[in-house]
């Protein structure tokens, strides 16, 4: 059964179509893997029985199905609504909330014939970089269970890396797909803002949130994005993005100008990470890409800008959680205000409370101009800086995170330090651009290193094709934690 789990999503989809593997067989293999990997705590809710029923029902059309992912088992981050299936955002405050509707993404996956294994662990309300702020306990990194899987889509990254599902759906507000993908040695993509509908994604920072895939390689990510992207009348910010990404993968990068922003490779970047990330430049150059170096000084301002805007939007978005219409509610309240206060104080974890307070502060009278308005202005400058950079190059190559995965407990003690580790990913959300994280090597401790490719708006085809080209020539993405010892 191990061999089945080692297939990519597209390989499994093809095997299902040919009748070599039944959907039920694949689903049972995944459910066994989920069970065997229980210590990772990647799942909050498992829907094994439903998955098997779905598998049997889907089998009828397996040979004629249009989607290359038909029948392939996957799992969904727990901030994406699934009708009738508990959706918690990894927070106490949502209690046993079972959404009365599906997110657009969930609907599109179901239409394409995806089998859902359940809901994945994450940082509470997607606020965190380690999946340690989950009310349901931390997820562990399959490469070393004493280390974090990254966050906030840590459950998604750990589930894909541990071969518990063929792909997962995550969300990315400031790096929450790309950073865990990097820490766990899988490929993850955040599309252009608006490429994927946010309807049914429980909002953290609406102007930055995007849903996207985590998978074994770039081709799988392309196939998942093809399935979930496109305009949606229920999300006014969604774009008429056509997809056809899988068909566009050629591996031809001749003449591609690959930008290397010097400010992303300076102080604070681990030497082993730097070396591995720069190896991507070498590999793409060997395929005919041209390297362009330039400075990108705006990097200095991206973390404070991001945290001001994300916290401000979070403080507003999370005001809806008051214990009245859904979710958990505190007991022993005196009046309505007391009900709100007790529910929110006891229902939110420390990091969520911290960001709500920070957001409330930067929006409060007297400080709004100095922080919130200032950050919106700097966001404009960040966008300009990217616009200028993309006059010089077609794609940018940067690290995903300054180091490989830290040990459990190391990050939470110093929130500011944790925020600073998001430096390479948050700028992409501020500018609304597509960004991809892919495995590009391992450090001496055997932990995966990720490289980030950033493209101009709607350049997903280019981003994915460059990653595809790199993966044609390398095998980092094929390594699995089970084979860690074998690789030495």
């Amino acid at each position: 059964m191990k061999e089945l789990l080692d297939l990519t999503a597209l390989q499994l989809g093809a095997a299902i179509k040919k009748g070599e593997v039944s959907i039920e067989e694949a689903t049972r293999a995944a459910l066994e893997a989920v069970e065997a990997n229980q210590k990772l705590n990647s799942f909050i809710t498992r829907t094994g029985e439903q998955a098997l029923e779905q598998a049997k029902a889907l089998q009828v059309n397996a040979k004629t199905a249009a989607s290359p992912l038909y029948g392939v088992p996957m799992a969904i981050k727990d901030n994406i609504c699934t009708k009738g299936v508990k959706t918690t955002c990894a927070s106490k405050i949502l209690g046993d909330f079972a959404p009365p509707y599906d997110a657009t993404v969930t609907e599109r996956l179901a239409t394409a014939g995806a089998v859902s294994l359940g809901k994945l662990n994450m940082d509470e309300f997607a606020m965190g970089s380690t999946t340690e702020t989950s009310f349901y306990g931390p997820t562990r990194n399959p490469w070393d269970t004493e280390r974090v899987p990254g966050g906030s889509s840590g459950g998604a990254a750990a589930a894909v890396a541990s071969r518990s599902c063929w792909y997962a759906i995550g969300s990315d507000t400031g790096g929450s797909i790309r950073q865990p993908a990097s820490y766990c040695g899988v490929t993850g993509v955040k599309g252009t803002y608006g490429a994927v509908s946010r309807y049914g994604l429980i909002a953290y920072a609406s102007s930055l949130d995007q849903i996207g895939p985590l998978a074994r390689d770039a081709a799988d990510c392309a196939a998942v994005l093809d399935t979930i992207c496109g305009q949606d009348p229920r999300d006014g910010t969604s774009l008429a993005f056509q997809g056809s990404l899988l068909d566009g993968l050629t591996g031809d990068v001749r003449g591609l100008k690959l930008g290397i922003p010097a400010d992303c490779f300076g102080d604070g970047l681990d030497a082993e990470v730097r070396r591995a990330v720069l190896s991507v430049a070498g590999a793409l150059k060997a395929r005919g890409a041209e390297l362009v170096e330039f400075s990108f000084p705006v990097m200095r301002y991206v973390v404070p800008t991001y945290y001001i805007l994300a916290a401000a939007e979070a403080s507003s978005n999370l005001s809806r959680f008051d214990g009245v219409k859904y979710g958990w509610r505190a007991e022993d309240f005196e009046d309505l205000t007391d009900l709100y206060c007790k529910t929110r104080t006891q229902g939110f974890g420390a990091e969520v409370r911290r960001r709500i307070l920070l957001g409330t502060f930067v929006l409060s009278s007297g400080y709004y101009d100095a922080y919130y308005k200032k950050a919106l202005q700097v966001k404009g400058l960040v966008k300009e800086a990217f616009d200028e950079a993309f006059c010089k190059c077609d794609l940018m190559l940067t690290p995903v995170a300054p180091t490989t995965a830290p040990r459990l407990g190391e990050s939470l003690s110093d929130p500011l330090q944790m925020y600073l580790s998001d430096i390479y990913t948050v700028s992409v959300n501020l500018a609304g651009l597509p960004g991809l994280s892919m495995p590009c090597g391992f450090d001496a401790a055997g932990m995966p290193v990720g490289a980030q490719l950033i493209g101009p708006a709607l350049a997903e085809p280019r981003v994915l094709n460059a990653a595809y080209a790199f993966q044609l020539d390398t095998s980092w993405h094929k390594r699995s934690p089970a084979g860690k010892e074998a690789h030495g």
């Binding site: 209690g95 909330f97 079972a98 009365p100 509707y101 803002y193 608006g194 102007s207 009348p233 006014g236 910010t237 774009l239 301002y301 404070p304 800008t305 945290y307 001001i308 403080s315 005001s319 008051d322 214990g323 009245v324 219409k325 979710g327 958990w328 509610r329 309240f333 005196e334 009046d335 309505l336 007391d338 009900l339 709100y340 206060c341 929110r344 104080t345 939110f348 409370r353 911290r354 709500i356 307070l357 920070l358 409330t360 502060f361 409060s364 922080y371 200032k374 950050a375 919106l376 202005q377 700097v378 966001k379 404009g380 400058l381 929130p415 500011l416 925020y419 501020l430 500018a431 609304g432």
Partner: protein
């Protein structure tokens, strides 16, 4: 930016959060540290720069005013911890 415990009390009240004394003290220090770091933005000249809320120029997205089916009331009320057959229930808010 100096953050005082009184400022933390004020924003806690606005946020409908009630911090314990120890968390209030801890939060005062942490917010001060985080905001001090954010002051790096003061080093960048933004005179005449327009604040950008939408990264892409999004126009109004409208649809025809057609009546569509809404959710089933009982299904929506099912997620509430206190409701009758018609509505959500809360403690008395106005005397």
């Amino acid at each position: 930016m100096k953050i005082t415990p009184e400022m933390v009390d004020y924003i806690s009240e606005l946020s409908r959060l009630r911090l314990s004394d120890s968390e209030r003290e801890k939060m005062t220090g942490e917010l001060e540290q985080i905001l001090a770091y954010m002051d790096v933005l003061n080093g960048i000249d933004t005179d005449g720069v327009e604040p950008v809320s939408h990264i892409f120029p999004i126009k109004n997205v409208l649809r025809d005013d057609v009546v569509e089916a809404s959710f089933d009331r009982a299904e929506l009320l099912r997620n509430a911890s206190w409701a009758d057959t018609e509505t959500f229930l809360v403690p008395k808010a106005v005397d």
